[in-house]
Symmetry: C2
Subunit: 432 residues, 2 copies
């Protein structure tokens, strides 16, 4: 049985119990949420040990970091360093999006390198091997796609982005819409190119039941890919996107009916005021299953700072109900990220997730800020640093440009409001 | 006549005309907005040359960068470097918050170092000189405060934060509220300490008319300081804050009646879902005058990343109607910022301002993103870099980890969606 089927059968699995404990929640509430499909625990039964990470309603908003080899950087060593950096920075899941060198080897290394849930996009590998084998992505067969998916499942991949929700109906609407950036999903681009060249329907859409069988067998959580997500502010919430989302909703229903754990991927570039509607629409059309957003990026004009444009939109998405945020690094739109970029990306996404959790009143979120504020008021630097989202950075900044042992920080020095007011207003509130 | 009085008299001043041109707006609309008090142009008539920067309704959201000497770093050289960095990064105004060394000399240097509008907080200097002269901030006289204000006005300061909106009524409500962080405004802390020790009313509140006379004489824009702003998420929108805001509203009305340009300063730490109400309340209570926010910071737990927590809240504030954003650097809560921190802070605040401007449909905002997206679709790297909010950083990232002359970037390399789709979907939209 999948985690979803167990939940429906009334069984609290060890994964549900352990995850409930971590979240400080009643296991029965977790089970009930899983039975309804509003919570998933990505956990391939092939993997010996996977940290049970819950994604969905009422839970702490989770953060994914993507790594992977590429033709430019085919060596796994650099990617394994990024994996370690992402885990240390507090990522909840890792996606291995390798497209270069020994893709199978890299996947095995990633799966062996952490107990966090691991995601992948099998169609990348299928497309790349098709280019190597036949010289072109359009010569890939449906069989190639499913073989890649099955291989990833057998290897133990816990969740998979699958670009099923694009068919000729959607492509037609993309064409007649006249988008600025057409398609920016790599998987979406491969499949659209394939469909247009071959004048055939998307095999992942047409043979969705075959996909469901594989997912069911290994309890792979499907992440129904946002093949048609807008790639810029101007394209947001257009007819192509909404048509794609309608299709996603139909596929989600089939996955839930089959007992397959499923979530939905979302944009991408969204003007800030369209974020609440974007989240609401997904939740409404897709049976309230967990929503995995990339960003949202609230402007196109800040390459080099897209961890910030994404943290802005990520907060608003999380507030509005997004459950899972894919990090975006400062390198987005410009080049492959370095390990330092990975660190910045994970922390920025965690800030967004947490700022949203404060609004969603997720258990423990409010208390974290309160503890920090009390430590701040008390000028308790050790505690402020230990409570910081990135204690090492806070400690480093604190050590710089401050006199050793100074009570306040050099920002205000002797004129620190905490110190000044403490003398005259000692009894009013804080512990100073 | 002040700019406000001119506007009311039906006169479009050269400052209004030039500012309207920069914003791409009808000068008459600017004049009308200034007459109603919903737009200000901070411009002390003592200064020979000041770039006319408009702040308020319908205009591009502006960004302030604060610099200044301190007892820890009393040398002006480092601060002048920060001034240059802030201007280069695109700050619209500068505040000189010096508290160390030759405070008068630093102010003169700042005023001479840029044509941007310059703001200050005269009570800092009054308090510090009081400590030097009498040994304590509480022995400062009302006369000392007004002398500092007049000196800054004579020197040419264009806008001043003045902590008038705190009186015993507000302090009493602060006490009975029982806040976590009491007061975090330095000026607010000085004045509260002074009021409690001397058992007297705040001179800046009691003699507000005297302040208005000075402002009128030099056309100094008053920034009615948020002496009682909450210093943490838990204290947001409490009785003390709202009581302070009621007082601000009364003082704003008196300033407008006197023909004095005025804006209002706001928080600070605000949970994301409270930002729209925070902005709306200020606008309603304070006659819709421009709102100058610090942040808003949407969580307390990210010291070292408060440029990001502020960019999140700054976007939401800008969307909701905030007109002017004070930058927050990554060093906030930990130490004095470096020049590099100043750069990060200005860019993060500009991203927030712009993401809000996209929503407010400020002239030119949407077009900027559209141009970038078209350049991105066309893989036109030169144009993408020139359109980036920080072209130098975009160029540096582009130069790293990419093969020289490569058409795509190394993020996707040959599997770039723009390239793949371009082959099969050339006619659909973009220029690829």
């Amino acid at each position: 049985m999948t985690q979803l089927e167990s939940a429906r059968a009334g069984v609290v699995t060890p994964e549900m119990a352990r995850m409930a404990e971590k979240e400080g929640m009643d296991p029965e509430i977790i089970r009930e949420g899983m039975a309804r499909g509003v919570i998933v625990i990505p956990r391939n039964r092939q993997r010996a040990e996977v940290e049970p990470v819950g994604i969905g309603k009422g839970l702490r908003t989770k953060v994914n970091a993507s790594i992977g080899t590429s033709p430019e950087c085919p060596e796994p060593a650099g990617e394994m360093e990024k994996l370690a950096v992402a885990v240390a920075a507090g990522a909840d899941t890792i996606m291995d999006l390798s497209t270069g060198g020994d893709i199978d080897g890299m996947r095995t290394a990633t799966l062996g390198g952490t107990v966090l849930p691991i995601g992948s996009v099998p169609v990348y590998q299928a497309a790349i091997e098709s280019i190597e084998r036949y010289g072109s992505v359009v010569d890939m067969t449906g069989e190639d796609m499913f073989k890649a998916i099955e291989k990833h499942a057998v290897d133990g991949i816990d969740f998979m982005a699958v670009h099923c929700a694009i068919n000729h109906d959607v492509v037609e609407r993309l064409k007649n819409q006249g988008r600025v950036t057409d398609i920016v999903s790599r998987g979406g681009a491969f499949l659209t190119g394939w469909m247009l060249h071959n004048q055939k329907e998307n095999p992942l859409y047409e043979q969705f039941d075959r996909l469901l069988e594989i997912a069911l067998r290994y309890d792979v959580t499907l992440s129904v890919g946002d093949a048609i997500r807008p790639g810029c502010i101007a394209d947001s919430l257009d007819r192509a996107q909404v048509q794609g989302l309608v299709l996603v909703g139909e596929l989600v229903q089939r996955a839930l009916d089959a007992g397959v754990q499923v979530m939905v991927e979302g944009p991408g570039h969204v003007p800030a005021d369209q974020i609440p509607a974007t989240i609401l629409l997904q939740k409404q059309l897709c049976h309230q299953v967990p929503y995995f957003v990339l960003g949202n990026l609230v402007t196109d004009i800040a390459p080099g700072y897209d961890h910030i444009t994404s943290a802005i939109g990520g907060t608003m998405a999380s507030m509005a109900g997004a459950d899972f945020i894919c990090y975006v690094t400062p390198a987005e739109h410009l080049r492959l990220p370095t390990a330092a970029d990975v660190h910045e990306g994970v922390i920025a996404a965690r800030i967004a997730a947490h700022a949203g959790d404060l609004v969603k009143k997720v258990k423990g979120a409010w208390e974290w800020d309160l503890s920090m504020s009390r430590a701040r008021k008390a000028l308790d630097w050790e505690k402020q640093i230990s409570l910081a989202i990135d204690p090492a950075r806070a400690a480093r900044y604190r050590a710089e440009r401050n006199r050793a042992g100074s009570e306040a920080c050099s920002m205000c020095g002797d004129y620190c409001a905490m110190k000044v007011v403490g003398q005259y207003l000692g009894a009013a509130g804080g512990s100073c």
